[in-house]
């Protein structure tokens, strides 16, 4: 294997890893603080990508504005998801919440994806919110967009980490994730925290959608693949574990890139799945998960 091939594979792995990490963080954050698996996350990704496309193509605004548009659309969709679905499900008995919210968000996801299909049609578009050009590294060159994706993704991880660790809102989110009742008794406005988490996750999905569509194409099923990958990364890392999510996203994306180079593109995902299953047989709580004591 020549150096240029190795660099190409590493770039592909790291770029995909950055995208997967953002998708995984969004899923994991919502699970950690709300105890809900958001099956509509993939559709939120798609929405973000198309929102950026619309802002740039239809309104003729510059690409950074399109990027902001993607973020805003994701956050808004997160807020609507809370107001229209999650708020009402929280009133139902708590033991059925976990599965009911899963089914409800499956419905929302399919409805949202279908709406996008009806509005924009099924033909793929090129994402205008991206950067052209190549960057020379030694003997080979790497697309600038890949570098941008990795940097934006790292920046976003930093922002999420900062929000969670340093702000009042982050403290409230962590308190709710640790113990919902205790947080409520301490005066944390639980419902506002839920709204904030879903908006934050929606914004992350919007960014992720813009990034992933810039290296592939815009299509109504855009979010499906990153969400599926994010699922198995969550399984490996343990849902709700953000550093683990980032580590497993990059690790699995690199493995995927090497497998796709060695055995063909279609074997990437099945091999990942096999690795995940083997890891689970070895460690049923995930690679980074601790055996959680569940109250019954």
């Amino acid at each position: 294997m020549s150096a240029s091939t190795l660099i190409a594979i590493l770039t592909a792995g790291l770029t995909n890893g950055a995208v997967y990490a953002l998708a995984t963080i969004g899923l994991s954050l919502v699970w950690g603080s709300l105890g809900m698996l958001n099956m509509a996350h993939g559709a939120l990704l798609t929405l973000g990508g198309y929102a950026a496309y619309t802002v740039v193509t239809t309104y003729g605004l510059p690409a950074p504005v399109g990027f902001v548009g993607g973020i805003a659309a994701g956050a808004l969709a997160g807020a609507i998801l809370y107001g229209a679905v999650v708020k009402h499900l929280l009133k139902q008995p708590s033991e059925t919440f976990e599965t009911n919210v899963l089914i409800a968000t499956v419905g929302i996801g399919i409805a949202l994806e279908n709406t996008i299909l009806l509005v924009y049609g099924g033909q793929p578009f090129r994402q205008p919110t991206s950067m052209d050009g190549l960057l020379r590294i030694g003997v080979t060159s790497v697309p600038v967009q890949d570098i941008v994706i990795i940097l934006v993704s790292l920046l976003m991880m930093g922002v999420v980490g900062w929000i969670l660790a340093r702000t009042r809102m982050g403290r409230a989110i962590r308190a709710t994730a640790q113990n919902r009742e205790a947080a409520q008794l301490m005066g944390v406005p639980i419902r506002r925290v839920y709204l904030q988490v879903l908006m934050l996750a929606g914004a992350l999905a919007g960014i992720c959608g813009v990034l992933v569509s810039s290296i592939t194409q815009l299509s109504p099923s855009l979010g499906g693949d990153p969400m599926l990958k994010a699922f198995i990364m969550c399984v490996i890392a343990g849902l709700g574990n953000l550093p683990g999510a980032v580590a497993s996203a990059f690790g699995l994306a690199l493995i995927e890139a090497f497998v796709q180079f060695g055995a063909g593109a279609r074997w990437g995902f099945p091999v990942l799945l096999l690795i995940v299953i083997l890891v689970l047989i070895w460690r049923p709580t995930g690679l980074f998960g601790r055996a959680a004591i569940r109250r019954l």
Binding site: W31, A104, I110, N114, F269
Partner: protein, 351 residues
Amino acid sequence: MTMSSTPTLMARHRAPYGDLAMALLVIASLVAIPYVVESRYLLGQVILALFYATIASQWNLLFGFAGVFSLAQMAIFGFGGYATAMLCVYFGWNIWPALPVGAVAAVVFSLLIGLACLRLAGVYVALLTLAIAQALYLLIVTDTECFRMVGSACRQFTGGAVGFARFGDFGTRALFRAKWLVGNYAIVSVLFGFTMLCTYGIVKSPIGLAFRALKDNPGYAVARGVNRFQSQLLVFGVSAFFTGLAGGFYAAHFQAISPGILSLSQLLFIIAATVVGGIGTFWGPLVGTVVLMVADEAMRETGEYRTLGLGLIITAAIILMPNGLIGRLGDVVGWARKRFAAKAPSLSATQ
């Protein structure tokens, strides 16, 4: 004490009569349908509904009764169908012996999935089974390697994106000629009835109680000596048998099988039917399938809005009636009974 416990005891004794009445109603409708329904299209839709109701009843057995949130239901259905079709295509089997073998293949496949997934807790099972189902779908769709030549065309081992076709049928065309669809309808009805009967037996049996105990309170069930992993693996295998069998019948009825049945929207329809009818109720999946099929037919006019409508129906159903139509019916019956019970003593008092 005795007075207050009487109604619940009576209700427990009354329950089988309700199921019996419902079963008679279903059987009567199944017998009447071919005499009433003239159009071939409509009879075809009824057959399709019976397939959906069969799969939904097995997903309900798995999730509604045993609490295993598996999203590999259509993958197991497809596996049964593909196994049946491939036995006919590659080994020249007749469809009838291929059906049970296909079902057993689906059981083996499901047990492998179960071994990998069922040690995990609730939501991780959903994630991993969905990932496995999607991997299977993608592997079949992207299969382009030549396995054999049919005429001048190259065919893949898995059938690729096209799938398999014309590998045999039930033999109803030769037997009933123009009335072959009614023959197929009868066969699928028997499959449906057989599946429902066995499912009822399982749900009411001691092992069915163990499944429900594990769902209602896993900690308590395990403390009372129910082995969670073994029980869930068992229910996984049992539901896979009927699901895989239905898959084989599906392939034989349509004389074709393609990866389309493994897609997410098919799985969604099954989940929607169970949710709308009532998760964890025996008749829920059937009621939900009928309601959704009728709604789907009504939405045919709107064409492309069908999927959108289906998604919204699922979400609305789970928000507005988390126990489904059967649950709502139960609420109404309970309310009426309470009203009746409240009135009855006052009547006797006046006399």
